[in-house]
């Protein structure tokens, strides 16, 4: 059959469809009758070459390239027609194709490029033809041709061997070198460097016979000869291109890294020592950095020596000297190099490690540039896990001493600047302590120091400010989150030492009388809010035993005033514990609501009763909200059954009664409890959540509570950081938001439609809160039905509704579905009006939406262009800089709409 196709039909004289037919026939045959086709030998290839010669249609080209790929990969014999096959495909290289507008097939230039590339680079047999072609095309002025050639060259690497490349090495090298040294574009430079890496990797893989040249050696020789000397030039002009080339080559394989490293490192180190100018040293150090960290491909294998070992001592001395210089750039690069050295075994001797730690400690204590101290802390964090002993013995004692050094306070005569800098040093020490605590012994040494700060703050000694206390708590939290808790000992340490001390301090703070020192900072709401996450993070990671023990201790503290597990102090026995320490409910929440579901909370029913009481009656907002959260956190995990139902029935009845009584002054408390309970239940798909949601809807029309309820929907739908999230092992079912939306959106729309005008805002707010938290896909599918509501929302006078609608709309506008594009005439004027709204955030959000619209197809947006440009002139003169900035960006994009050169 094929013979007749090839002999009797002149394929290229057929119409497009018919040619496609022929190609498809070939493809099918190749799949089903491979043996027979291969039996035809190279005649098959010849026949195909003739059929394809001169093909112009892009779809057919893709088919033809596919056939060519199959020929190459499938092992068909090409014989004497190899060059013909190459010619007939390579004549299209490099591809220059602009898809026609409204192309129904959606073929892009990229598709064609990739398909052709797979053909050209598919077999080493093409090498002798492809390499000269690439070298020729690299000379082209057209940037995309250069990039295509370079990327094709890079794609050859994995397929070819040294035999194919060795004769072309010098030609390829001079072109590649030119592209990097005289680059006019980052894209070309990057493509050239990756082509170089690919080539080097290919040559590194080749197995050499005893009589052939080592092609890798040849290439590296070429590269080093041309690049090495630039590293020595007095003004370091071409240092960067040379360095990039050398780094690209070194990153290709261990062999290359070894050869390049051996040649280059001594030069760089010597240069650094000889040059004293700070900017030159910085350049050299940054170049050095690129050679210090091995890439994936060039990492030494088992038994292979690290490339840096021979230069180990001079490297270290250069790095240490750079750390003591005054240039920020130098110091930062030095810390990064130090981190990289620390990661490779054997490069830092124990003595070097000690020196490094001493340098880092000095920098922490003395260097106040924020970028440098950030880099120093990073470095500490990366070195500490590998060399904990050095840090424990040398750094921690000095940091501790610094934190607790008494300032010379003589009345009011301490200069504010001095005070400020001392505080800054203390802050840096605290941050460093947290960062190095990523290994068991370090945690055990550094966290007591932080706890001592809290104790000192509590007793009024050393005058630590509330801000400092808060930052110490942040540091403790960081340790809790990042320390590898898989190590049982760290978890044990948290359970035995850290949590009891924190709780002990807090209890003392609220129970003691306000003595002569005034109120302890540990009783402040701001501080308790940051202590809670520490407890929560650590409790959520405890093993089963510690978790159970923590639960029973904490419950016993709150219900019975049992202070036995706290560090010894003279806290009087609590008579009515729950009420006395009710401020600390947030800490109770942090503990019992963060434990895995398998842990049983002792006396849970009594606990729930007490929590209900506090949440419904306490007047302090922080306290009653924390109690509501705790309640919700517990019932979310409580197994279903009569006990859970009883508790729920009781609390819901109580809250509802309070809410229905419009004269009550505890309605806010009841609402808070209702909201949190609803959230806790809807996360676990509990059936009661529907009834509670309906109750909330009905409250949208309540005069005093309506706005609070509308905002409450944000609470229901968004992720809460402290309870009822997956980190706290809460029962969170997948897609609960979508379920909530699909069950309730109709009710909301109906409620909106039937509500009097002054209440519509509440429904809109609720709706936009819900929409904002849905995954984008769902937003897009639900948008059409809700569009009229959104448009209405944009005209609603309430700023909160406007803002949440705008933030909901903006991502959708980047790729709007059809229903929205039909409504542009209604949407755009409303957006333009909002750009002059009294609220800054609304103006900014509206401008961002208009900016997004500029990305839509020209033919859709052009009718609005003049109007938009005119309207955006006003926000250019807005009194707020942030608004002006958005206006400039938006207006600039609209100017470019439909203009040539966009």
């Amino acid at each position: 059959m094929l013979k007749s196709v090839f002999q009797d039909t002149h394929v290229q004289s057929l119409m497009i469809q018919e040619r496609s037919c022929v190609y498809n026939i070939l493809i099918n045959l190749m799949e089903s009758r491979q043996q027979e086709l291969k039996g035809l030998g190279s005649d098959f290839v010849f026949g195909f070459v003739q059929s394809m010669d001169g093909e112009r249609d892009p779809r057919n080209l893709l088919l033809a390239f596919q056939i060519a790929q199959k020929i190459i990969v499938g092992g068909y014999e090409m014989g004497k027609f190899t060059e013909e096959l190459f010619e007939v495909t390579s004549c299209y290289f490099p591809i220059d194709f602009t898809p026609p507008p409204n192309d129904p097939h959606g073929i892009t230039q990229e598709d064609l490029i990739l398909s052709l590339r797979a053909v050209l680079t598919g077999t080493p047999l093409f090498a002798e033809f492809l390499m000269p072609l690439i070298i020729e095309k690299l000379d082209s002025d057209v940037q995309s041709a250069k990039v295509d050639s370079l990327q094709t060259l890079a794609a050859c690497g994995p397929v070819y061997g040294h035999k194919e490349l060795s004769q072309f090495l010098s030609g390829l090298w001079s072109s590649l070198r030119r592209e990097v040294f005289q680059t006019s574009s980052e894209r070309v430079e990057a493509a050239a460097l990756s082509a170089l890496t690919s080539l080097t990797a290919c040559l590194s893989r080749s197995i050499i016979t005893s009589d052939s040249d080592d092609a890798l050696h040849t290439l590296l020789q070429l590269v080093l000869t041309d690049c090495q000397h630039h590293l020595l030039e007095p003004d370091l002009k071409l240092v960067w291109p040379s360095a990039k080339i050398l780094q690209a080559v070194a990153g290709a394989s261990y062999r290359a890294h070894l050869r390049v490293g051996t040649a280059v490192m001594p030069l760089l180190l010597e240069q650094y020592i000889n040059r004293t100018q700070s900017t030159q040293r910085r350049t050299l150090l940054e170049v050095l950095q690129g050679f210090v960290q091995p890439s994936e491909a060039s990492r030494p294998a088992e038994g292979e020596e690290c490339v840096l070992l021979p230069f180990q001592s001079s490297l270290c001395s250069v790095v240490f000297s750079a750390l003591t210089e005054t240039g920020a750039g130098l110091q930062i690069t030095a810390t990064r190099i130090l981190s990289a050295l620390g990661q490779q075994t054997g490069v830092l001797t124990p003595h070097d490690v000690e020196l490094a730690v001493d340098h880092l400690t000095t920098l922490i204590l003395q260097e106040d540039d924020p970028q440098v101290s950030g880099a120093v802390v990073e470095c500490c964090g990366s070195l500490a896990p590998r060399h904990p002993a050095a840090f424990t013995s040398r750094m921690l004692p000095k940091l501790k001493e610094c934190i607790f050094t008494e300032r010379m306070v003589q009345g009011d005569s301490v200069a504010p600047a001095e005070l400020g800098s001392h505080n800054a040093v203390r802050q840096r020490c605290v941050t460093a302590l947290a960062r190095v605590a990523c290994e068991r012994s370090l945690v055990q040494e550094s966290s007591p120091v932080l706890l001592d700060v809290l104790t000192a703050a509590h007793t009024g000694r050393d005058s630590f400010s509330v801000d400092e206390v808060i930052s110490v708590c942040h540091s403790l939290q960081r340790i809790a989150e990042h320390a590898p808790h898989m190590e049982a000992e760290i978890g044990q340490f948290f359970h035995d030492v850290i949590i009891p001390r924190l709780l002990g301090l807090a209890v003392q703070a609220v129970v003691q009388d306000e003595g002569s020192c005034g109120r302890s900072p540990l009783a402040e709401e701001a501080v308790l809010s940051v202590v809670a996450p520490v407890i929560s993070s650590s409790c959520s990671r405890l093993n089963a035993d510690c978790a159970a023990s923590s639960a029973s201790r904490v419950v016993s503290l709150f219900l019975h005033g049992d202070v036995a597990f706290l560090p010894p102090t003279n806290i009087p026995l609590l008579k009515t514990p729950f009420l006395q320490v009710s401020q600390l409910v947030c800490l109770l929440t942090a503990c019992v609501c963060s434990l895995p579901q398998s842990v049983e909370i002792p006396e849970i029913d009594r606990l729930l009763e007490e929590l209900e009481e506090v949440s419904c009656t306490h007047t302090h907002s922080f306290t009653h909200t924390s109690a509501a959260k705790c309640y919700a956190g517990l019932i979310n995990k409580r197994p279903s059954g009569p006990a859970l139902d009883t508790a729920l029935e009781r609390s819901v009845k109580r809250a509802s009664a309070e809410l229905d009584n419009s004269a009550s002054c505890l309605r806010t408390q009841a609402l808070t409890l209702l909201l949190w309970v609803t959230k806790g239940l809807l996360l676990r798909y509990h059936p009661l959540s529907s009834a509670l949601t309906d109750k909330l809807f009905s409250l949208l029309s309540d005069r005093s509570l309506g706005p609070l309820v509308a905002d409450g929907f944000a609470l229901l739908m968004s992720d809460s950081p402290d309870v009822l999230n997956r980190g706290c092992h809460a029962d969170v079912r997948i897609m609960y938001r979508q379920l909530f939306f699909s069950e309730n959106s109709a009710k909301l729309v109906q409620g909106f439609n039937s509500a009097p005008p002054e209440e519509k805002a509440g429904y809109l707010k609720a709706l936009s809160h819900i929409m904002n938290n849905l995954p984008r896909q769902v937003q897009l599918t639900e948008l059409p039905a809700l569009l009229p509501l959104f448009l209405e929302a944009l005209s609603c006078p309430d700023g909160g509704v406007q803002l949440s609608t705008l933030s909901c709309l903006q991502p959708v506008l980047l790729d709007p579905p059809a229903p929205l594009t039909n409504q542009m005439e209604a949407l755009i004027p409303r957006l333009l009006t909002l750009t002059t709204s009294p609220a800054m955030k609304v103006r900014i959000a509206a401008l961002r939406c208009i900016h997004s619209l500029s990305r839509l197809p020209d033919h859709m947006m052009l009718p609005f262009r003049a109007r938009v440009l005119r309207a955006l002139a006003a926000p250019l003169d807005d009194k707020k800089r942030l608004v002006r900035k958005e206006a400039v960006q938006a207006r600039g994009e609209w100017f470019l709409l439909g203009s040539p050169g966009r």
Partner: protein, 117 residues
């Protein structure tokens, strides 16, 4: 004053990165509605000087409220034909006519296209 992000027509870096535009050479007088920008071509015979100046002027025209008078000129002593270029840039009619030239507008727009998509 917003920071300008204009692409050099021949180079991948922006004018700010090339020090063609420096913040110190930009003067804004809000009360008197005047903005003055001095730019320094990279070499004294830079053939792109007029184009760069035009791009700066267009960017300012599109980004500033109407009330501002905009003056764009070459840093004195840095270009061989600075008088001629400054004269062109100051002439409103010539600027408007230039922007009606589609090819010229295309190049200017390319310089002003933001890289962040």
């Amino acid at each position: 004053m917003c920071s300008i992000n204009i692409n050099d027509p021949e180079h991948p870096l922006s004018l700010e990165e090339l020090n063609v535009l420096e913040q110190v050479r930009v003067r804004v007088n809000d009360q008197e509605n005047a903005v003055s920008v001095e730019f320094t071509p990279t070499i004294p015979h830079c053939s792109m000087a007029t184009l760069i100046g035009l791009s700066i002027k267009v960017k300012l025209l599109r980004s500033l409220p109407d009330r501002f008078k905009i003056d764009v000129h070459i840093t004195p002593g840095t270009h061989a034909s600075e008088e001629a270029v400054n004269k062109q840039l100051a002439d409103k009619e010539r600027v408007a006519a230039a922007l009606e030239n589609a090819q010229l507008l295309e190049v200017v727009n390319q310089c002003l296209t933001s890289k962040t998509v």
